[in-house]
């Protein structure tokens, strides 16, 4: 069965300023959608609304045609969200971090899978070091390992390229493309230029900071 996330007439106000109004978004299998806009235009806010973390908005959300409120758990079972914070416990090793995420997703993984996922983000050799002793980019790579480990069709990624080095960015782009080709879909924000993802759809948000003074 295929899936579809829809937003109808979405609007969000912050500090007497409308970040966006009358926004209609539709995202289905195989699509990569990029949300664009300058700093402060509301990208993070939009992603949080779409992934059901913020209730402070107007408009309606649908998952496979059903109102989000009714099918929230079904929706969550299909969602993988990566936010500004990597969600990695500093006192645990990368392996332990991933084990928890797998169990949380309702899966019973094994160690080999997790090792492979870590190898996929080039953390071989760091599997057993407490995450506190890794660099900014390595921390985020642990979070990115979840993309390979946990099978979810819809990815919502808020600036996934932050702190990742050039090679890492290229690999991640490939991963996103592959995901779309397998029928998954990706909703992301980033300030990077994404060269190889030529065919992606863009949702531009307001002019953000600049002209937004009341």
């Amino acid at each position: 069965m295929t899936f579809r996330l829809e937003a109808r007439r979405l609007a969000c106000e912050r500090d007497d300023r409308w970040l966006f109004t009358d926004l209609d978004i539709e995202i289905g299998a195989g699509e990569i959608v990029r949300i664009e806009g300058p700093n402060g235009s509301g990208k993070t806010t939009l992603l949080k609304i779409l992934s059901g973390q913020l209730a402070d908005y107007q408009g309606e959300l649908f998952w496979c045609g059903e109102p989000m409120r009714r099918v929230r758990v079904d929706f969550l079972a299909n969602l993988l969200y990566l936010g500004h914070a990597p969600g990695v416990k500093a006192a645990l090793t990368p392996l332990e971090n991933l084990a928890w995420y797998q169990a949380l997703a309702g899966e019973q993984g094994n160690e080999a899978e997790r090792m492979q996922a870590l190898a996929g983000v080039r953390l071989t050799g760091f599997e057993d070091i407490p995450a506190a002793q890794l660099s900014a980019g390595q921390l985020r790579r642990i979070a990115l390992a979840r993309l390979a480990l946990i099978q979810r069709p819809l990815w919502v990624l808020d600036e996934p390229f932050t702190a990742i080095d050039r090679e890492g960015v290229a690999e991640l782009e490939q991963r996103l493309l592959a995901h779309a080709q397998r029928g998954g879909s990706v909703l992301l924000t980033t300030h990077h230029d994404l060269a190889p993802l030529g065919e992606l759809r863009r949702i531009p948000l307001g002019t953000g900071a600049r002209h937004a003074t009341q």
């Binding site: 969550l76 500004h84 006192a91 084990a99």
Partner: protein, 238 residues
């Protein structure tokens, strides 16, 4: 990794047991990895008890009179302080966000976290309390009741306190605010807990008090997880 060739929509199916067990395991590892952190509430407990003779008077008769209340208030404060970090660490590194996005019932996951907290704080406190009772000159027969009342009571304290911890998790200086929210709710537990010890000292049956503590605990067990889950959603939403 076993990978189907094309991705399809997934059912939200079980795995609850696994998720709860994994959360228990994770929090236990986190606690045990810093062995010293288990000691901390215990030492705080002992320290606060030490402050009172120093501040009040070292006279044994007076100390024995106030011992049950002293022990209970100190244990309560120790639990309270350790609660502050229950969700905060998870909030700061973003894993709380991920916990809320898991397709599992939040109250169950949260209950696992609270259980670890009690296991690592309340239970050791209860086990250590007879020693401090001894130092305050508590009469012989009351040690067991002291430990039982603290073990039962601190479980309620953890549950109730977790609601407060969840509500203040997003605020920068939650510590003191948490105390304000939670201390008034602790009063019934304190009254019956200290009452049980007092009754044991006087030789009355402490059973009634313990029964009420048990009732409070089961009430907290039924209601608190929902409260905690709701509070977390509110905090994250901000």
């Amino acid at each position: 990794m076993p990978r189907s060739d094309t991705l399809t929509i997934r059912e939200s199916r079980g795995g609850l047991g696994g998720a709860v067990a994994a959360t228990l395991r994770r929090d236990l590892i986190l606690m045990l990895r810093r062995r010293s952190e288990i000691m901390n509430p215990l030492v705080f407990f002992a320290l606060v008890i030490t402050l009172f003779p120093l501040g009040i008077s070292p006279e044994p008769a007076l100390l024995t009179t106030i011992a049950p209340g002293l022990l209970w208030v100190a244990a309560l404060l120790a639990t309270l302080l350790s609660l502050d970090s229950l969700f905060r660490a998870d909030y700061d590194d973003g894993s709380l966000e991920q916990l809320l996005l898991a397709p599992q019932p939040l109250p169950a996951l949260v209950l696992a976290k609270v259980a670890v907290h009690w296991l690592m704080t309340g239970l050791p406190l209860a086990l250590m309390s007879p020693l401090l009772g001894l130092m305050l000159g508590l009469p012989g027969g009351s040690y067991l009741i002291l430990a039982i009342s603290l073990a039962l009571g601190s479980a309620s304290l953890s549950l109730i306190g977790a609601i407060g911890a969840a509500l203040t998790v997003g605020l920068s200086r939650g510590g003191v605010l948490l105390s304000l929210l939670v201390l008034p709710l602790y009063i019934p537990v304190l009254i019956f807990g200290a009452g049980a010890v007092q009754a044991a000292i006087l030789g009355d049956g402490a059973a009634a008090h313990l029964a009420i503590l048990g009732a409070l605990l089961s009430l907290a067990l039924m209601l608190a997880p929902w409260g905690i889950a709701a509070a977390l959603r509110i905090s994250i939403n901000g």
